[in-house]
């Protein structure tokens, strides 16, 4: 398969917009996604499948929480931290949320600079994003340690419904894994950007194909998705 760039600007211009474009694109007997390269389309489709995985976790959490006759532990108290003598509810989770949102902001700007072919700024912003991600995983490790010391296990906990532990470890563990993979992904691409792979048409070590600047946006899609999942976890698990 040729490593094609998205259709020419002229091609895209000549196609209809809105609902008519949906029908036209899907029935065109060619490629359905006219403006997205195969790399971007495949990342979106992967993210769609990942959405279903996280949906399954959150739906099973809803099911066990709705059907238990034992009271659910109050997350506001479980995740409270004592800072300077006062107990602040959910404070660590709030900080983690702000860290992840900030990382999404720096990633969005990295994508922007990537399309301006600004090698240094793109790489630096990606490194900042990775640092925020690593900080997030670190705080999550701290949170897990704290809860495990307090006696939370997948099958029991001191405060109420035993399903709390399994839902917590499964959902946040899977999300934390995604963040970790994202940090590694970011570091690999940031190195390529820094080295100027996409300007010198250097071939990739694994695919032996020339990379394009677009990979920064594709990495960004994955990273924003990780932030997106956290929005749902924060609302449905920690705040509910």
């Amino acid at each position: 398969m040729p490593d094609t760039a998205p259709a020419d600007a002229q091609d895209t211009m000549m196609q209809p917009g809105g609902w008519r474009s949906l029908v036209a694109d899907w029935s065109s007997d060619q490629r359905a996604f006219k403006s997205a390269s195969w790399g971007k389309a495949m990342m979106w489709i992967f993210l769609l499948s990942d959405t279903f995985i996280f949906s399954c976790f959150l739906i099973s959490y809803m099911t066990v929480r709705m059907s238990t006759v034992v009271p659910w532990p109050n997350p506001s108290e479980v995740f409270a931290l004592e800072i300077g003598g006062t107990s602040l509810p959910l404070i660590l989770i709030a900080i983690m949320t702000f860290v992840l949102i900030s990382s999404s902001g720096t990633m969005a700007m990295a994508v922007n600079f990537a399309y301006r072919r600004d090698r240094v700024r793109t790489a630096l912003l990606m490194l900042v994003t990775a640092a925020f991600g690593a900080a997030f995983v670190g705080m999550q490790a701290f949170e897990w340690t704290k809860l495990i010391h307090e006696g939370v296990r997948p099958w029991e906990n001191p405060w109420g419904a035993p399903q709390f532990g399994s839902a917590f470890f499964m959902i946040t563990g899977f999300h934390g894994t995604h963040v970790t993979i994202g940090v590694i992904f970011l570091l690999i691409i940031a190195r390529k950007v820094w080295r100027g792979d996409f300007d010198q048409q250097r071939k990739g070590f694994f695919t032996s194909r020339k990379g394009r600047w677009e990979i920064v946006e594709i990495t960004g899609l994955y990273w924003h998705f990780v932030d997106l999942v956290w929005v749902f976890i924060f609302a449905l698990f920690y705040l509910w």
Binding site: T51, S55, M62, S67, A108, N112, D227
Partner: protein, 109 residues
């Protein structure tokens, strides 16, 4: 710089990203305040879901550039997750029934 989603990539002013970033901060702070002030009941749930939906929408539309993709891609990606809501409904119904049988047969048993 004008908005454009050309084959060479997305070109939007940095200001747009900073504004979305700021909005996400404010929305997160709002949802944290829902918990801080211990709002309860329907008001709490409505606010949590509202802030969640707004944040998700901003991230998908602007940060992930879905607002500038063609409709063919947007519908292919955004419609299937809506079907998950049916799954949520089915499992809520199931959980309700499980709770009913537990209450009826195991309470004080």
């Amino acid at each position: 710089m004008a908005h454009a989603a050309t084959p060479e990539g997305q070109q939007h002013p940095i200001r747009l990203y900073l504004m979305v970033w700021g909005s996400l901060f404010i929305l997160s702070a709002c949802s944290y305040l829902v918990d801080y002030f211990q709002l309860q009941g329907m008001l709490r749930w409505m606010l949590i879901l509202l802030f969640m939906a707004l944040k998700a929408g901003l991230i998908i539309a602007v940060f992930m550039h879905m607002a500038w993709e063609r409709v063919a891609l947007a519908y292919a990606i955004l419609l299937p997750p809506l079907v998950v809501l049916v799954f949520v409904g089915i499992m809520a119904f199931e959980a309700d029934y499980t709770l009913f049988t537990r209450e009826a047969f195991f309470r004080g048993g």
